[in-house]
Amino acid sequence: MTIHCPSCAAEIVFRSDRTVYATCRSCGSLVVRTDLKVELIGKEAGLPNDLSPLCVGAKGKFEGKAFEIVGRARMRWEDGAWNEWYVLFADGTDGWIGEAQGEFTMLFRTGERVSVPPKGSVRPEQEVRIGKSTFVVTDVKDCTYVGSEGELPERPQLPTAGDANPRTVSVDLDGPGLAFASIEYSDDGTQVYVGRIVEWEELEMSGTRRIEGWS
């Protein structure tokens, strides 16, 4: 579906029913669409440069299913930052590629009922049962939203009148083998994502970003 940016009238394409937030490539405005209208909700300041080989529009494969990257959100915490790339699969399902320090994970929002520890008490070494496996918390980060591009299914945690610096608590969990999970506690609720660590070659990426000096 194509709409026009309420700020600069440039075209904004929504490739999926699931994505309701998008950043205008021309002016950086962040818009949300509902059944009735398109609303301007903020302005993207522009994402800092990084050496990620991924970009919106790049295509790849995961476990035989083809996907395309349609959006990205960048989060930062006290001691670093990471990218979350939103991907749409050919069969209509969606997922997220987590990218931090050159390592990649593929995660999916879980349909399982998960007994999640309360936000204030989650600590490393705690165990959380997700589906049939037990995961162990490795990291608890207090993070904020840096910026986004492309289309996203969830509202980014932008500063609002009431909260100038909304914080999300992002928890990493390690599962058996390469299994990996993430719990995000935000003002909009708590989300659990499950998936695994992936090697770059496995994704068979094409249309990736060319970084000068790296072939």
């Binding site: 440069n49 050496l51 080989p53 083998g177």
Partner: protein
């Protein structure tokens, strides 16, 4: 995507000394230390404010310069940061942070001239509880993916120098508790601070490979054997020893089979009388037939000498082909009384094995000699016996000895390496 490739390197002016600082791993770097003066800046702060002002007197000489690229283990890496750590009073290690946009971060560490390449452990190694080790109740082993590593070191390290980019808020003086476990060419490193707990898996890298990969020439000399330096042919050791023992079993089996098929039967016995008149005169046995079987023939000499010796210079003759097998053998036996009682020395039996004796008709030519002399009357009797297909052990022992040489050398050299290696550790299994 047909965009212009994004520039990989940015530069800015160091707020500490004004030197030009290059940023190579944007997005991954959290702090950047100026190579010239050591001042540390927040990588994600567009204003580049100082996190820590340091004033190094001069630009330090790095083993591998920042920005150098090298291919190790199939991937191209760029050195984005270098730090040095030390545990007083031991020498510093120099640790290079390597980066690749699709592979992530690795460490290339040099200590005592030995290099290792460390990657974050995907699974957390398990320390194996053992009691009473060195009286500390300290786990002596750590296990990862079925491989057991023995504790080599435990201590605290302090960062003494930083240059370039790092993925955490490193500071000079930062202290971490470290543990190291080693096993055949690999090691597990465990570093923990108040904030972080990291396990890495490390592999030994030869200094020559580092030189070749990064194009550097001046690397420190190696001191002794490195903690994770593999023994010669480390990967093949287990196969070599397994093959050796299998071959030893084969040699034993062959020997057992050969011995049990040795008929060991006497085919001719003949007695002779030796008199001084017969000395050095040739005589011969009757002819006898030698049948099939293991093609050897044992010639036994028996003579009940007492305080004499008797020797024969003989040859086995094949009456059909004329082939001969010369041999010499002798017996001597002495006995008597002295202050300690009766004594005896020597033997009255001798044997000699002739090999490669095919079936046929034979006789033995004999030339006897003895010190049985004119003073004695009578004669000294002796008996010659021919025994067919006797079990022999000569080849068996030679085969065992020769086969044992390569694995023994491998074991001895490996043992030397291990003793040298562990001499640097407080947890040596050699005491």
């Amino acid at each position: 995507m047909t965009e212009e490739p994004k520039p990989a390197v940015e530069t800015f002016q160091c707020p500490g000394c004004g030197a030009s600082v290059r940023v190579r791993a944007q997005g991954t770097a959290v702090t950047i230390a100026c190579e010239a003066c050591g001042s540390i800046v927040d990588a994600n702060d567009p204003k580049r404010q100082l996190l820590e002002a340091v004033s190094r007197k001069s630009k330090a000489k790095l083993l591998i310069p920042l920005g150098k690229r090298g291919k190790l283990f199939g991937t191209e890496w760029e050195v984005i940061g270098v730090l040095r750590r030390a545990e007083h009073p031991w020498p510093e290690s120099e640790e290079c942070l390597l980066f690749n946009p699709t592979k992530g971060l690795r460490w290339l560490i040099c200590y005592d001239g030995h290099w290792s390449f460390a990657a974050p452990a995907r699974d957390k190694p398990k320390k194996l509880e053992s009691s009473g080790s060195y009286g500390l109740g300290l786990p002596m082993y750590a296990e990862l993916n079925g491989k057991r590593y023995r504790r080599f070191h435990r201590g605290t390290e302090k960062v003494t120098f930083v240059a370039g980019e790092f993925h955490w808020r490193v500071r000079v003086g930062e202290v971490s508790n470290t543990e190291m476990f080693v096993a055949g060419g690999e090691a597990l490193y465990h570093d923990s601070t108040a904030k972080e707990d990291n396990w890495s898996v490390a592999t030994y890298v030869k200094a020559s490979d580092v030189k070749k990969a990064f194009g550097v020439t001046d690397l420190p000399w190696r001191r002794g054997i490195g903690a994770l330096q593999p023994r010669p042919a480390e990967k093949d050791r287990s196969a070599v020893f397994k093959t050796y023992f299998a071959l030893v079993a084969v040699i034993f089996a062959v020997q057992i089979v050969t011995c049990s098929s040795a008929s060991n039967h006497t085919i001719h016995v003949q007695s002779f009388e030796y008199t001084t008149a017969a000395k050095d005169k040739e005589t011969r046995t009757e002819s006898f037939d030698v049948g099939k079987g293991i093609e050897n023939l044992e010639i036994d000499l028996y003579s009940p000498v007492n305080n004499h010796w008797l020797a024969i210079d003989g040859e086995l003759v094949n009456e059909t082909t004329g082939d001969t097998w010369p041999f010499e053998e002798g017996v001597e036996y002495y006995s008597g009384y002295d202050s300690d009682g009766s004594w005896s020395e020597g033997t009255t039996h001798a044997t000699k094995v002739l090999s490669g004796v095919p079936p046929g008709r034979y006789h033995i030519n004999l030339e006897p000699s003895s010190d049985y002399g004119a003073a004695e009357t009578g004669s000294q009797s002796y008996e010659i016996k021919a025994v067919r297909s006797v079990p022999t052990f000569g080849n068996f022992w030679w085969a065992l000895v020769l086969l044992s040489i390569p694995p023994s050398i491998l074991w001895l050299v490996g043992h030397y390496y291990d003793r040298e290696r562990w001499s640097k550790s407080d947890f040596s299994p050699y005491g």
